[in-house]
Amino acid sequence: MSGQTLYDKLWDQHLVKQRDDGTALIYIDRHMLHEVTSPQAFEGLRLANRKPWRLDTNLATTDHNVPTTLIERAQGNSGIKDPVSLIQVQTLDDNCLEYGIEEFKINDPRQGIVHVVGPEQGATLPGMTVVCGDSHTATHGAFGALAHGIGTSEVEHVLATQCLLTQKMKNMQVRVEGKLGLGVTAKDVVLAIIGKIGTAGGTGYAIEFAGSAIESLSMEGRMTVCNMAIEAGARVGMIAVDDTTIDYIGNRPYSPTGEQWEAAVADWRNLVSDPDAVFDNVVTLKAEDIEPQVSWGTSPEMVTGISGQVPDPNAAPDETVQRSHSRALEYMGLKAHQKITDIKLDKIFIGSCTNARIEDLREAAKVAKGNKIADSIKLAMVVPGSGLVKRQAEEEGLDKIFIEAGFEWREPGCSMCLAMNADKLGAGEHCASTSNRNFEGRQGYGGRTHLVSPAMAAAAAIAGHFVDVRRLPANDATHAQEA
């Protein structure tokens, strides 16, 4: 018999019951909640007179609706001007209070984007099953956890039964081998993967990211990669446990300690795919081939390298793709064969569950340092992923670098990634964004999103158009040192 994949192992460790009809009950170790996808689930519990099965697995925070200016946040929930948003945030507070669920409220220093908060607190551990009513839950898979997004009916199901009714997925391995070039980040890696396999390439699969380039990433980089598994169609993205994983988890508020820590680490060491494990599909990329990426269209698969150009729809492989590309160019206001470096930007957004952790802010700050944003940029904002990320960045002086360069330094939340709060694009505005989706209208009605890494976003803010971060003086200096 062949060995097991990491996904197979996690599945077996949580399988409560396999039914004859192909469905299975799996046990859930961590359930994260936010205000947008939970109110109807709590309402369902209430109507059926049910109680949460196990309170201590749940952890909630408000992130999608919260305003990000200091003035608004100083007033707590009452700073939320939109009455509909306010009700939603208040409803999460009320539900958590009523059922006794731990919540990091709007001005708790631990508040932040749910997928930043979980790992930061050690609430996400290797070997866990982690679910949340949010498709970017795959982020937590970076820790060798089985993590995926669920719908609101499933949120209610997990609250009531501590289980998820599901079916086993197929195994896919995406290998990135080699050494990433200077200025090429985890974001570029995952965008390149999506560009290669497409937004439906991972449908039906749990993806394990592997290979020397993945192993060389920090935990933050690994989270960026797993975060966007869903943009490749896969609910689950994951990376095997190694020293990098274990070093990150030690001494966090929710991490085990003492004897439990020793036992846990011994257990976690097994969370790797066996050498003889068989995957249903294996895709390999060479790290050296990956350059900084920029999306040009309205789907994350519509992406290319910074040295590239906007494709010609007539070159598309079939009629459906051709129509998609034509429509995307029309929506984006771009022309076939236009150079990526000729795309001018109106706004810059550095933030989101993909790229709002401390390393992301450091990378962006390195590029911004000593520079000013271009006159043509109407707004450049940096939105830290959590209160703790914000505090850390301020301790390192990153806030000052950004402010001096002309960026706005904001309070934590999802912000302009999906524009449920007041942070949004106007119609026709081009935005260099470190978020995860470039769908039509995603960042504001008629807004035009270009997905990039934090360093690329900062560089675009300064130039007013896309530039190759590899050619910046900061990177040249590093090159010179290496030479």
């Binding site: 939603q88 896969a234 039509e440 009605y445």
Partner: protein, 215 residues
């Protein structure tokens, strides 16, 4: 959940690949804490010429005459014919809530995104996957014939086209059963309460750190 019964419904074609859940129901409508009322904002950005706001009276808004659901021939459509990777993107269950609230009972496409697939069935919406060639043909047939309908027979896993052609489809047994009976998942799962408790106890003994009280 209502039982899914055999029906014959008008088919509306949405000729566009990778329809994401942001397009099905834009984010500003996700602020509602209810499960109902999303139908008027289904495909809001395609359907209206202005930017929609929550709790707005949509009857006064300018309609996009080119959008398929605004064309009288597709009035009362109950079947949506779509392209590949329908429902990609966010996990928002508001997407199937909006489709259901609008009146759709069935979406037919070459492929669906995983989370959307789950969410739709949990709200009584049937999703049928057919090969690209068949889908292409259905688009042509729907275009050619006003009032084109499909007779949808979940029990026997087949749809009968306007021309009497029988198209068989696959659906997993459990989802089919839940749809036909209108069953609530949670109630079914709680029948296995003892198995869950037994698993939980074993899990606790083996991996005690997962049961650490922190609050």
């Amino acid at each position: 959940m209502k039982k899914f019964e055999r029906f014959e419904g008008v088919v509306a074609p949405l000729d566009r690949a990778n329809v994401d859940t942001d397009l099905i129901i834009p984010k500003q409508f996700l602020k509602s804490i209810k499960r109902t009322g999303f139908g008027v904002n289904l495909f809001d950005e395609l359907r209206y010429l202005d930017e929609g706001q929550p709790d707005q009276d949509c009857s006064q808004r300018p309609l996009n005459p080119d959008f398929v659901l605004n064309q009288p021939r597709y009035d009362n459509a109950e079947v949506l014919l779509a392209r590949r990777n329908f429902g990609c993107g966010s996990s928002r269950e508001h997407a199937p809530w909006a489709l259901e609230d609008f009146g759709f009972k069935l979406v037919v496409a070459p492929s669906f995104a995983d989370i959307f697939y789950n969410n739709a069935f949990k709200n009584g919406i049937l999703l049928i996957t057919l090969d690209e060639d068949t889908i292409d043909r259905l688009f042509d047939e729907v275009e050619a014939k006003e009032g084109y309908r499909l007779d949808v027979d979940l029990e026997n896993q087949r749809v009968i086209t306007h021309r009497g052609e029988i198209l068989e489809f696959e659906v997993d047994e459990f989802r089919k059963h839940c749809l036909l009976e209108g069953l609530d998942d949670i109630g079914l799962t709680l029948k296995d309460e003892d198995a869950i408790r037994a698993f939980e106890e074993k899990h606790r003994q083996r991996r005690s750190w997962l049961f650490r009280q922190t609050a």
